[in-house]
Symmetry: C2
Subunit: 553 residues, 2 copies
């Protein structure tokens, strides 16, 4: 292998492909190199002046390293990995650090293995982190539980880059023995520590956690960088931190940040891109284009110890993207290991259609519900969840009446208790109808929001055993998107998923609510008891600050 | 382990040591943090405000991470690793990337294992790279040969960080199968490519080599950084690149350089420090003190994939040094894994005296030589080696007469051929006496320089079976420093070695020669046929440009 690349570098034997007249983005020096790039056997052989049989004349276009999404959950797009790869290849992403903890919460090890296996079918490099928190906390009834023993067994599969986000920061700083045992499994550990600061953040970092993607202020970012952590700057569909955090970057600390999408829906990726979107936002905030590309490539590779990528240099793998403008990132070609995988519009590879493993279907185990089961009278003593724009964080609100509040319920759906948590929610201002979905991080119980309990029951009952998303207005089902794989992922090509998703968004457009919010992503995170401050699980309202259920008088 | 550190970070249980009122050098943000640092079980637990039973009040002194020497040969100090550790601990170095290829050339695997084993006795972290080029080229008669098979066996010892400098760059770019086989052994490969540029440098980098410490111009450094290599900026005793290369650094490319000493003698380390010396020179050239410290710590750790060190942050090992000034680096305390190992003047740990393995002694296998054997008449057709100040590189010189030239010889001493290479040398201008030594990179044959063949023979014969360094004037031995371990290392404490070395330097002071040169280091590299342009081996004059012996008419 090395011999052919060495000989191509010398120009002795022909390269497989030569990019002529490129503006090569040099992420090490922060400069542009004008020249040619020779690629052999999927490896960059040389930079300089090269000629050969297979030349691609870039005529002064930019050549950048393939982008790296440093933290994300494929499940948030409702796509299988192979379909997600088709979507993302056209957007310049060639490597992803994926945490399959959503499917793991429903289907356990079988779910994780499905993701790994499906991802291997396509020429995009998925690096999986092993989910550390299934369920995220002991307070959620998930479909599966992965204890330290189960993780050790999975680790032996040998296909994990490290330990995925340790969301149980409370368990870390309180030295929960099970949590500490998990932390010993890998040297590379992702973090999740919203709101942590000072000694608690030190304790969290001292445990070996080396990243955090939950920063929402420049101060939080600065503190984490100083404490030796990488900050994965996130621009998801709900949590949007890129603009604020970019303002806190300088030439020195920017080497310790990466970009990530975390949870970004298919609509936003199709409309605005994924990591490309992060780069564009950072540039708008004053980060130089070359620096922004560096953050999205070299930095992520360094953070995740991928020493073979993230730059255009000899010996590095030939993951490359071509564009006219670094500000626009208008790709006309994307290469993975030296092979063209996209023309910037669509993926140029096929995905074999395979059967879904039977363990992953019919995961919504729920009998028909009545409106009464979902309703509870307003109680002014009970706190109300207040949602906040562009944030996963929610607030405590105390209301005197239920004017402008909505009903919300979370229903256990893994065939265990079937218990139902109920509360009122402020901010969305839904005036009519209901929305139900079997997507609810991380345990993926049913979350339903409504202006009336009747519509809520109709929406929940429409989900069936496949789960998915249902929108009801005036008692009528106006959209239904089934998600047969674990109740969170579609088996279909991404184009069809996007069409179904658009139909759901269109149905939502028929409901009246505060347009500052995207209700689907909002509902997805309403039950996640590791994001401050007040969440709803099927066990009831949960106070994330004290990590306990809200006491009922 | 993690639990105690986490609890110390929280202030719940006492830290082992608390550094109060420190100016903490934050190598990630490039700033100074004023505060306390808590250490538990050798790990940094927290930064902030801490109190405890064992406080060290730094009263505003600087706290920096322990320095890392990113490439060096312990043998160049003539010290055993354990004694070198005593010397270097007081100078703030807590981790070294060491290549034991000098002793390997004399004693093979036994020599390497001795170095690893001796290094383990002391609280300084030696990370050994596995010598890739023993001998450096097929053109030298060394005491041992390590082929790919031998390296594979050694690799299985499991104590090597990567493959040490691949000096056979010629073999790499010409795809020598044995060289390529060696390159497959490790993902981390050190380089050595003086003078390489363009396609040949690309080929070398494409082979997987990721560092080079042989840059002597900013242009060479810039090219290597752009090609994805780290540049280890060297300040040895003979090769001094730090001032020139520092001028080529900026805020962006400086993340891809480290500091190293490569070959630095005991005298220079005692007088001017080791990595501290690099930092001081860089600062004088305009690199900010915090950036210079960053290069010497975090960068080296990143380059060598040592993810647990190189910074003062929770979870990092507590390798720390205390000083009043970042410009002076006047250490008053050095800690390794949280334990005080030096007061800045001397090491505070003992080194057990052990017997030297019998395979490593009596390695100079040479019968008594006559002056005639070392002499040859001047031949104007034969090129002359011209030495260059502050450089390992030598030039071709053509002389009409031998006025001002010196005699030089290299004698095979491993009990093989006993062959003798002879030449004239220009630049040193030795007027009287002779200097002989069994140190001669990398094969460590005898190198002898003299104004007369009689004195040369006397110096060589004085070396005996122990080898070492001998200085003769007017037929009289005026200094002799035995080096019983492989003919290149002393068995004695560093204080005694330094005293002997000073005696040798003092004897050299009685000879007349051009004081621009330090003859010992110069002789050490005169026979190394991987440094351009003209060298002398026991087989005769060697043209490094064409990698062949100079043809005799």
């Amino acid at each position: 292998m090395k011999q052919t690349v060495i000989e191509a570098a010398l120009g002795k034997t022909g390269a497989d492909i030569i990019f002529k007249n490129a503006k090569i983005v040099d992420v090490f020096s922060g400069k542009i190199i004008n020249g040619d790039v020779a690629v052999k056997d999927g490896i960059i052989a040389g930079l300089g002046v090269y000629n050969g049989e297979n030349e691609v004349n870039l005529k002064g276009k930019y050549l950048i390293p393939g982008l790296i999404d440093s933290h994300m959950h494929i499940e948030s797009t409702m796509l299988k990995p192979s379909q997600y790869a088709r979507l993302i290849a056209a957007r310049g992403v060639t490597t992803l650090i994926a945490d399959p903890h959503e499917i793991a919460n429903v289907c356990g090890a079988e779910g994780i293995r499905f993701m790994v296996s499906d991802a291997r079918k396509v020429p995009v490099d998925f690096r999986f982190m092993l989910p550390s928190c299934v369920p995220a906390t002991p307070f959620e009834p998930s479909g599966a539980k992965l204890d330290a023993k189960a993780l050790t067994e999975l680790k032996n599969d040998g296909c994990f880059q490290g330990l995925a986000e340790m969301m149980n920061a409370y368990g870390v700083v309180n030295c929960d023995p099970e949590v500490l045992e998990k932390l010993e499994l890998f040297g590379l550990i992702d973090g999740h520590a919203p709101g942590y600061t000072g000694r608690e953040l030190c304790a969290y970092a001292a445990s070996g956690v080396r990243t955090d993607h939950e920063c929402s202020t420049a101060e939080e970012m600065t503190e984490r960088i100083a404490l030796g952590m990488y900050v994965c700057i996130r621009e998801g569909s709900l949590a949007k931190n890129c603009a604020v955090l970019s303002k806190g970057l300088d030439k020195r600390n920017m080497s310790r940040v990466t970009f990530c999408t975390d949870d970004r829906n298919i609509h936003d990726i199709v409309s605005d891109g994924s990591i490309t979107n992060c780069i564009r936002i950072a540039i708008k905030q004053g980060v130089s284009p070359i620096d922004a590309v560096t953050i999205a490539t070299r930095n992520a590779a360094e953070c995740y110890r991928l020493t073979d990528r993230g730059a255009i240099a000899p010996g590095y793998i030939a993951d490359l993207a071509v564009c006219d403008s670094l500000e626009e990132l208008d790709f006309c070609a994307v290469y993975k290991n030296g092979v063209l995988i996209s023309d910037g519009k669509k993926a140029l590879f096929d995905v074999p259609e395979d059967d879904i493993p039977p363990q992953l279907v019919n995961t919504v185990k729920l009998s028909k519900l009545s409106a009464d089961a979902l309703y509870e009278p307003f109680d002014p003593k009970k706190p109300v969840i207040e949602v906040i724009r562009d944030s996963l964080i929610t607030g405590f609100y105390h209301a005197d009446s239920d004017d402008g509040l909505n009903l919300c319920a979370v229903i256990e759906r893994h065939g265990k208790s079937g218990s139902i948590g109920k509360c009122r929610i402020k901010g969305i201002g839904l005036k009519n109808g209901a929305i139900a979905q079997s997507i609810g991080h991380d345990s993926h119980n049913i979350t339903v929001l409504g202006a009336s309990a009747d519509d809520m029951a109709a929406a929940v009952n429409a989900l069936g055993h496949d789960g998915g998303i249902a929108v009801v207005r005036d008692g009528k089902l106006i959209a239904h998107m089934p998600l047969p794989i674990a109740g969170i992922i579609s088996e279909k090509p991404y184009e069809e998923v996007e069409k179904s998703h658009r139909a759901v968004l269109s149905a939502l457009g028929e409901l009246e609510y505060n347009r500052d919010f995207e209700p689907l992503m909002l509902l997805s995170f309403l039950s996640l008891p590791v994001i401050p401050e007040l969440k709803l699980t099927s066990g009831g309202l949960f106070d994330v600050r004290s990590m306990q259920f809200v006491k009922q008088d």
